[in-house]
Point group: C2
């Protein structure tokens, strides 16, 4: 886990990591949220809507931004303040995702920075794009 302090964060810094979507992730997400929508839970229903398989919950894909901030950038001293996400392509079980962010702007008054984020699948397609504002709780001036 990274432990960047606010003073370590520079505009242009990037971090990324990879993950693979498993069926188990969808089950866990359904248990957390109670979202039993058939587009995400019923392969035949999803096929009837024109998809090759059940579609991964958009908010499950977005949840990887938690790790991007909390483990990578800034890591240990992270507290997410704000997120915005657009879902650009469907994600399916088995997809390999690269979760990426770059520091765009710092706010010294609140020890917070703005990160541009994207999640890209194994075909190089952007499935999510967005922004995050993240506070850095290291207590330094």
């Amino acid at each position: 886990m990274n432990e960047y302090r606010y003073s370590d964060i520079k505009v242009g810094m990037e971090e990324s990591y990879q993950t693979e979507i498993t069926e188990q992730m969808l089950e866990h997400f359904r248990e957390i949220t109670g979202d039993i929508n058939p587009l995400h839970c019923d392969r035949e229903f999803a096929k009837g809507k024109g998809y090759e398989n059940r579609v991964v919950y958009g908010m499950l894909t977005a949840s990887f931004l938690s790790t991007l901030a909390g483990v990578y950038l800034p890591g240990k001293n992270s507290l997410i303040y704000e997120t915005s996400t657009k879902f650009a392509k469907p994600v399916f079980p088995g997809d390999g995702l690269t979760v990426w962010g770059i520091v765009e702007e710092k706010n010294d008054l609140f020890h917070m920075f703005t990160m541009k984020v994207a999640i890209v699948n194994q075909k190089g397609e952007k499935v999510l794009r967005g922004k995050m504002k993240v506070g850095v709780l290291d207590g330094t001036e």
Copy 2:
């Protein structure tokens, strides 16, 4: 599960539901995301940062918006296109949350609507506020 069609959706329609944050939800979220940040996983670390208990992942709280759209408004025919969320207060295990949304605007060209959303804890404090754009996949004109 509601099954509103696009033509059923009216500006001013509201839906809400309640959920309670369990320790199990945090474990499931950590298994999905790999976010092992100690603010969310280590009570003593969180206390050292001034919190009464480990803090619930912001993106876990945001994940309840999946259910708001996918089960309640519009329900079965839902596809989330865009979300924006601000985390206004910390959430803790054991908190009871009310997840609420109201239709603000319709877009007939894309069969999509904009919903204002909020999540409120058992003390009546707004812990999350945001917006969501949701498509309605019912195939009606």
